[in-house]
């Protein structure tokens, strides 16, 4: 009898402590939930604004998000995120997350913005595992290398010249890293090819997100 009441008292203590723990977590979750969601949106928007000038479009970029289930040119391994920038309802640019699988050390994730006319608005490397000091120069914070894509298109240079100089193309390489720039150039080229193929569909099937009242 004494023993079972002992267990009972232990159990009650544990239950009360669990309740306190639950309250602590519930309270702080409640307090921060909205702000966490807001912070995530802001962080994502800040990332997107690295490749597209916020002054050039007027729709809600995050609202325009859609997931493209199959796009082997962008990422053979899985779905791709895409965003569509418009101004007064007219298409301005499309943003894609692409993946270069043939990096020196695994996949390189890219964010690529293509203007409606087929020229590149910007390219950024979102994540990679390239060699520090060599391949990591593809990051915009470490060198200007990735900025050379700005304004390029499939006509400038010609499709055949979409390669690093070492391979006879017209893009600068990186000292000490051959594989990394090659992979990025190829991925950007493939994204432009994808855009060219899909442009009619891409902008027609997208819900018209124009919101004239919200000029930025």
């Amino acid at each position: 009898m004494a023993q079972s009441s002992d267990i009972m008292r232990s159990l009650i203590g544990l239950v009360i402590m669990a309740a306190i723990a639950g309250l602590v977590i519930g309270f702080s979750e409640n307090l921060s939930r909205e702000r966490i969601a807001e912070n995530r949106r802001e962080a994502l928007l800040a990332t997107l604004h690295q490749v597209i000038d916020p002054g050039t479009y007027d729709n809600d970029l995050l609202e325009s998000h859609r997931r493209i289930a199959v796009a082997p040119l962008l990422d053979p391994t899985g779905p791709v995120d895409a965003y569509l920038a418009t101004r007064n309802g007219a298409p301005v640019a499309a943003l894609f997350t692409a993946k270069a699988l043939d990096g020196y050390n695994g996949a390189i994730e890219l964010l690529i913005a293509v203007r409606f006319d087929g020229s590149l608005a910007g390219v950024r490397v979102l994540s990679h595992r390239e060699t520090p000091g060599l391949g990591d120069q593809v990051e915009a914070s470490r060198s200007d290398w990735v900025l050379q894509f700005d304004g390029r298109s499939l006509q400038q240079p010609d499709l055949d010249d979409w390669a690093v100089k070492a391979d006879g193309g017209s893009f600068d390489g990186l000292t000490g890293a051959t594989v990394t720039p090659r992979a990025v150039v190829k991925a950007v080229r493939n994204t432009l090819l994808y855009f060219e193929q899909q442009r009619p569909d891409l902008f027609d099937t997208w819900p018209k997100p124009g919101r004239p009242g919200e000029d930025s």
Binding site: S10, I16, M17
Partner: protein
């Protein structure tokens, strides 16, 4: 110190946490987050603040529950409570200091594994009243915070030649860009081995001061 060590209640000496029984320098507890985040002063200071908050709250709550929380379940209950408090710190940092969270995010959950917190719960909070336990948490928390900050400052200066950079992570609108003391520094010091080297010097210096102080007595 007799064989009855089990029944002896350690006397409350809250102030010991600051120096004599410093959790990091003397007890060598919580070194994993300590090594990992002290690449800058602000990083160290911020994780120290998180640890301090968890330590004070857990000490207070465990002290408050000391009469009804029975021995067989005390340990799991304490771990549960500490885990909940750390989760709260994690969520609040994520919500209110997102830039800081991007730097420290990975290490905040590691506060749970900081044995200094469970250690204070076991040796002090479960025996003493709210005031003593709270003070004890404050003192040991500040002791830990101090070491994190000093180590962060040391590695920041030695590794990058600046002090107090990235102040905006903690104080949002700060325009202060840090004191530039030298151009560049020894990269090694901001890499993981630098943490061991710097911490070694810190412990050595601490021991030197302690023995010097004791000698005249």
């Amino acid at each position: 110190m007799s064989s009855e060590i089990e029944t002896v209640i350690p006397p409350a000496r809250p102030q010991a946490g600051l120096w004599d029984q410093n959790p990091a320098l003397v007890q060598m507890l919580g070194l994993c987050p300590l090594m990992a985040v002290t690449t800058t002063t602000i990083n160290g200071f911020a994780l120290g603040l998180g640890t301090l908050a968890v330590l004070v709250c857990s000490n207070l709550l465990i002290s408050a529950s000391r009469h009804w929380l029975r021995d067989p379940v005390r340990l799991p209950a304490c771990v549960l409570l500490i885990a909940a408090l750390v989760t709260a710190v994690d969520l609040l940092t994520q919500g209110f200091l997102p830039e800081l969270y991007r730097v420290l995010g990975l290490f905040i959950p590691l506060i749970i594994t900081n044995c200094a917190i469970l250690g204070r719960a076991e040796t002090c909070a479960r025996h003493h009243g709210l005031a003593t336990a709270g003070l004890d948490g404050l003192s040991y928390g500040l002791g830990f915070l101090g070491v994190l900050t000093v180590l962060g400052a040391f590695r920041e200066i030695a590794g990058r030649g600046v002090l107090l950079s990235n102040l905006d992570l903690l104080f949002k609108d700060s325009a202060f860009e840090g004191l530039r003391l030298a151009d560049g520094g020894l990269l090694l010091m901001v890499l993981p081995p630098g943490a061991f080297i710097a911490f070694g010097f810190l412990v050595a210096g601490f021991n030197l001061i302690r023995t010097r102080r004791k000698a005249p007595e």
